[in-house]
Symmetry: C2
Subunit: 366 residues, 2 copies
């Protein structure tokens, strides 16, 4: 194998596949990136056996076709730090690779490309399409409420539901439900699939913020995302996802419209009177024109007053402030609506108008 390409293009491709490189594994080849030079270009692949990423072809002058698997960290650091516009990579004896760039020459020991695990093959039907920025947003706005506990495997992923017009994503961890929807660009038929949280986290880092589409192919055991030729294939989680839709009732006894960033700041401050800020419950005292937020520990107490527009009954209710802050950060609008029924029933957080984002959280007993 022997090729020359732009250093920046190679570095960018390494950054993309790095997300599927195993960091802890008993199979050293999974810590490698597969480099494959073929007619007209070079492709990189990484595979941690849960998900695999293969880049689009990088333009390269290929003098000799071939493959080699190179330890990802070292390969990536060398390419990142060498100084020059173009870089050449060629294979030598004993599965070594020589990297040349400017006045630098690096030789690194690799493994035969043939030993690298194949990525699952997916028969491509007509794809689902959604804007890359929309899918990114769906993931970022909900992923924090995926269950970390492995006892209910389906809850360690997010449910993606595709209808004719919409793509919904849902994450549930036993204390709360995050839901967000966006328009589908193209949907051949309705579909439901549970995708592991790790896959979604990594894909959200590859997705662009622009108007480009991502194409999605779903099979019984796999899901494939195609982002301008960069391909990510992941296993899916089999099983029934929890029925979440009835939980989002539209009835409420109290509804408060609040400035989102003021509420975040007040909750963060009220969490401070403790050695472990994640363990202080905060109490909300909802009045017609304001909310009083208080918390109390053996170390001190906090009192915060926020203006609101409230309809309905006055109410006292307590929460883990972290669970409120997560949802408030996921909303883009500056005003949020918070709906309550009683001190012990779930509270629902939404945008002031619209149903794109919905979040349900259980209160704490006071």
């Amino acid at each position: 194998m022997k090729f020359t390409c732009q250093k920046d293009a190679l570095q960018n491709a390494i950054n993309i596949v790095s997300k599927a490189v195993s960091s802890k594994t008993s199979m050293p080849i999974l810590e490698c990136i597969l480099v494959k030079a073929e007619d007209g270009g070079v492709k990189l692949t990484a595979n941690d056996m849960e998900m695999a990423i293969e880049t689009a072809k990088i333009e390269a002058e290929v003098k000799e076709e071939g493959t080699i698997a190179l330890e990802a960290r070292m390969f990536s650091e060398i390419i990142r730090r060498v100084n020059g516009e173009k870089v050449s990579v060629s294979t030598g004896e004993n599965n070594s690779a020589v990297i040349n760039c400017g006045f630098s020459e690096y030789k690194i020991m690799g493994q035969p490309g043939d030993d690298f695990p194949e990525i699952p093959s997916i028969t491509k039907q007509e794809p689902y399409k959604i804007k890359q920025k929309d899918l990114k947003n769906l993931i970022i706005s909900t992923i924090f409420s995926v269950a970390s506990d492995e006892s209910k495997p389906t809850l360690t992923g997010e449910l993606i539901e595709i209808s004719e017009e919409y793509v919904n994503i849902v994450a549930v961890d036993g204390y709360r439900i995050s839901y967000k929807k966006a328009a589908a660009v193209s949907s051949p038929e309705p579909a439901k699939v549970i995708v592991p949280a790790k896959t979604l986290k990594e894909i959200s880092r590859i997705l662009l913020d622009g108007e480009e589409d991502v194409e999605i192919y779903i099979t019984e055991n796999h899901i494939l995302f195609d982002m301008e030729g960069n391909i990510l294939v992941s296993r899916v989680i089999n099983g029934e996802f929890i029925k979440y839709d009835q939980a989002f009732t539209n009835e409420y006894k109290t509804r408060a419209v609040i400035n989102r960033s003021e509420l975040i700041s007040a909750l963060e401050r009220a969490s401070l009177v403790s050695r472990d800020a994640r363990k202080v419950p905060v109490k909300l005292d909802i009045h017609p024109d304001n909310i009083i937020i208080t918390s109390q520990t053996e170390m001190g107490s906090a009192y915060e007053e926020l203006n609101t527009q409230t309809e309905g009954d006055e109410l006292k209710i307590a929460f883990n402030p972290r669970y409120l802050i997560d949802a408030l950060r996921a909303i883009e609008d500056e005003k949020v609506a918070v709906q309550f029924n009683s001190p012990l029933s779930p509270c629902i957080i939404k945008q002031e108008e619209g149903e794109e984002y919905k979040y349900l959280v259980l209160p704490l007993r006071m």
Copy 2:
């Protein structure tokens, strides 16, 4: 105690004293900041028993004089996060303090101010003076070569030598010596003192980059730095510092003048062919017009070529690249001179011209 002051001024003062708050201690009061309101202002103090910091007086409207010790982390986080221009602090029953700012009210439990350890009293004679930015620079350029091993206590600090015209600082760790000097603004008489590295690290974070002076007072057991009224008092290390001056010989058999940042990059890259970049020796092959830098491990090999102007003999010599990089980062000029005598004698790194900065490092046996 009861006062009102600008939030920003109080936050700034907290940032300064925080550097002397103990993080691990069996005496909880050392995790506190002492707040003292007196005629016309407020002072904060922290003391970890190795060093103490007392701020200049913050302008405040003091309604009632008094003191209280408040847990540093919580006090600091609350002041940082409350929203408002002015903040009021007052003491209540059972050593509590109430903090008011905007629509927020925080009550935190404290300890009696009288329990807080006194800072050592220093009889002030005529001070030594040096520009704050110069002292900062002296510390940053040398502190990395202080010994971490406690077996030679004097080497866990830096030697500060003040003559009529200069202030020198020296750090020695058994493999290398860092030396830097700057002009003294005022020096009543020659002095030598060994200051613990931790003190110097913290003081370098308080010192400003401007032309202001720092005043220094030295007694048998303590050193006091006065930066515009913010005072840091530290113990000094008693004992004889190593005789370092003869080590810096001006004789050499080989002298190479090299571009500093190119050399840093080449050394960093050459360290990459290993799982632990700090453990790869690099070999320097010094020719009349260039230096070849190589390294080799079971994982691969590196080859780098750098242009130089060399006088004297050709030479092969090996180093821990980390030790070269530390010194190269400490030099501000773009060209550096590296002087060698033999593959087993120390190498000296300097600016191309001038003697303000000198660094000596032992080679590795090849």
